[in-house]
Symmetry: C2
Subunit: 334 residues, 2 copies
DNA sequence: TTGTATGCGTTATCAT
DNA sequence: ATGATAACGCATACAA
C-alpha cells in the first residue's frame, strides 16, 4: 500500500509540488482560484495527508514534547501528565511519556533517545544523579523544565510545591489541636529533594515549636513490619505527619491490621491529597498540592522557552492548602 | 548551535558518509579496523548522535507507538499505559499518550495526527463512534489493537475483561452469601460495550438465579444526589454490584454521608480492584481485572502486527478474579 | 574496503 | 501565478 505523497497530488492536479505545498500551508494568495480548487479536489480524491516526519526534518520542529517521570502510577505524576497533555494538545503538540523508576541510567537513556528523536522540549521529574547531562542540556539551550524536584547547581527552572510550607501547615494544624507529640513518617530521604525538604522542615519546626522530634524514616517495603512493631509495643506517637500518599497507604494498612483507632489513638495528617481521603473512615486531613497548576505552569514555561524566550532558572514554588477532615484529634483540655 | 551531522563526522574522520553510516549501523565488516577507530574517535570527539527523524523518514519506522485512552486519570488506563510503556521501552519504542475524554472527535483527531506522524502502531480504548475511520485503518493494514472495548463490525482485535464472567462471579458470591435482593449500580450504559456487557450479564443472572432486578443507571454527577435520596427513603437494596471504581467512589461518599453501615445495611461488591479497597473500613470485596496482563497482551499483539504477522481480529478475553474482603454480609439463617 | 549517487517527503529560494 | 531545484540527515544500491 504505497503512501500518497505531495508529488502524487501535484501530478493529479497538474501543478508542481511547490504549488501544492503552498496550498497546504494556506498561502492561497500565491495561486489562481481555479488551481486552488483543482488541488483541493486532488487532495480529497487521493485522501492525501502530509507526512509529518518529512515536515519535521525540514522544519526542525516535531511538535512533540517528552515527559519523564519516576512512575506514572504515582498519583501526582498522573495528574501532572494529564495537565501537561491537555496543554500540549491545546497547542497542537503530542506528549511522549517515560517512566524512570528513579533509575538515573534509564533517565539518561530516555533523554538521549528523546533528543535523538528531536522532541521540542522536555519536562522531567529528575532523579538526582544526572547533573552533568542536564547541565549540558541547559548549556545547549535545550528547552527543559523540572517538576517536583531540582538538582543543586543545575541551571534549569523547577516548579514545585512549597514543601517547607506544607510541613509548616501540617505542624501548625496539629499544634493548634493541642498535639505536642508529633512524629514524621517518610520513605528514606536520600537524595530526593522533595523528601529532604519536608524532613528538614519537620526538624526545623520541632525546634521552633519546642517539641521532641520523632522521625520514622523507613523503606516503603519495610514500613508495614516496622510500624506493626511500633504499634505492638505501643510506641507509636500520638500523631503523625505523613510525607506522602504512598507512606499513607502503608500506615493505613497497619492501622487497620492492628486495629489502631484514628484519630482516637493516632492522629494523622498527610501531605498530598488523594481521592479516597475524602470518604475514608475517618476522612483523612490533608495538606494538598495543586498538581494540575504545577503541571500547567511547567509546560507553560517550557513553551515559552521553545518559543525563544530565554531560559528562566529559578525555583517556582506553589502553595499547599489544608483540607481538614477527621483524622486529627482535638485535645479538649489544651 | 548547529547540530552535528553524519557529514561532519565523515569529514572529521576523512571518510565518506556512507562509511560512517555503516559504522553507525554496526556493519564493521565493511571497513578496516583503523578507519573504524578513526570514526569512533570522530564520533566521540564531536559528540555526535544520529538524527532519528531523518532515519525515520528513510526507514519508514519511527519506533514510536500511540496509546489513546479515555482518561489517563482512570485507574485502569494508568495501569494499562504503564504496562504498555514497559513493553515498548523493552523493545526500544516510545509511547505517545492521548486522552479523548470519550469524545470521538478528539479521538479521530488524535488518530489522524498520529498517523501523520507515522507512528508504527496504535493501541486504543475506542469511543463508540469512529467505525468508519477504524475500518479504514484495518483495511489499510495499519497496526491497531483495542483494549477494554470493541466496535461492532470493525475487524480489529480487542483485549478485554470477560465482563460477563466478572458479573457472574460477583452475583454468585452474593447469592452464596444468602443475598436475594441484588442491585446493580452503573453509569449510563450507552454505547460503551464494557458497561453494556456488564449490565446485560446482570440482567441475565437475575433471570437465571430468579431474583428481581434492581438496576440503578445514573450519570456520575447525579449519582450522589440519586443515591442520597434512595438512602433517605430507605429504598436502597440490601446489596449492590458496582460496575466500576468511579461508581464505587460515589457510592462510598453517600454511604459515609448518610452513615449507612457496610455491610450491615448495605453489602457491596465492586468490579475492578482499586488500591484502597484493601485497607478501607470495611475492606471492599472486589472482582479484580488483570490490567497489566491485558495491556501487555495488547501491545504484544500489536508488535506482532507491526512485524508483519497478519492482523488477528477476534476478541481476547481475560479472566477476572474474586478478592474477598469484608463488604459483603453473610446471612446466617440462609 | 571505501566512495558516489540517489531517494525518503517535505519546505523554501529563486527563477520565469 | 507557477515551477525547477536544492536542501534537511540519513541509508543503501552500486561502483570503484
Amino acid at each position: 500500500m504505497k503512501n500518497v505523497t505531495i508529488n502524487d497530488v501535484a501530478h493529479e492536479a497538474n501543478v508542481s509540488k511547490s504549488t501544492v505545498s503552498h496550498y497546504l500551508n494556506g498561502h492561497f494568495t500565491k495561486m489562481g482560484p481555479e488551481t486552488r480548487d483543482r488541488i483541493a479536489r486532488a487532495v480529497s480524491k487521493l485522501d492525501y495527508s502530509p507526512n509529518h516526519i518529512a515536515k519535521s526534518l525540514k522544519n526542525k520542529r516535531t511538535m512533540t514534547i517528552g515527559v519523564i517521570v519516576a512512575n506514572i502510577l504515582h498519583n501526582f505524576s498522573t495528574r501532572v501528565i494529564r495537565s501537561i497533555e491537555d496543554f500540549a494538545h491545546g497547542h497542537g503538540y503530542h506528549v511522549i511519556v517515560c517512566n524512570t523508576d528513579n533509575s538515573s541510567d534509564k533517565e539518561a537513556d530516555y533523554i538521549r533517545m528523546l533528543m535523538a528523536k528531536q522532541v521540542d522540549g522536555l519536562v522531567v521529574i529528575p532523579t538526582a544523579k544526572n547533573e552533568a547531562l542536564f547541565t549540558e542540556l541547559a548549556e545547549k539551550d535545550y528547552p527543559v523544565v523540572f517538576i517536583d524536584r531540582y538538582i543543586e547547581g543545575v541551571p534549569i527552572q523547577s516548579h514545585m510545591l512549597d514543601n517547607r510550607m506544607s510541613v509548616k501547615m501540617a505542624f501548625n494544624h496539629l499544634y493548634e489541636k493541642g498535639h505536642r507529640e508529633i512524629g514524621f513518617l517518610t520513605e528514606p530521604v536520600e537524595a530526593i529533594v522533595a523528601r529532604q525538604e519536608r524532613y528538614d522542615a519537620y526538624l526545623e519546626f520541632c525546634g521552633s515549636y519546642g517539641t521532641h522530634p520523632i522521625p520514622i524514616q523507613v523503606e516503603k517495603e519495610e514500613m508495614v513490619p516496622e510500624l506493626e512493631q511500633s504499634a505492638a509495643q505501643g510506641s507509636l506517637p500520638a500523631c503523625l505527619i505523613v510525607a506522602n500518599d504512598l507512606a499513607l497507604f502503608e500506615l493505613l494498612k497497619v492501622a487497620k491490621q492492628r486495629d489502631v483507632r484514628i484519630p482516637g489513638e493516632l492522629s494523622i495528617i498527610s501531605i498530598d491529597d488523594i481521592e479516597f481521603a475524602d470518604f475514608f473512615n475517618p476522612g483523612i486531613t490533608v495538606i494538598a498540592q495543586p498538581a494540575v497548576e504545577i503541571g500547567t505552569a511547567a509546560v507553560s514555561a517550557l513553551f515559552e522557552m521553545m518559543n525563544g524566550r530565554k531560559n528562566a532558572t529559578g525555583i517556582e514554588r506553589f502553595q499547599p492548602y489544608l483540607i481538614e477532615r477527621e483524622s486529627v484529634k482535638q485535645y479538649e483540655g489544651q
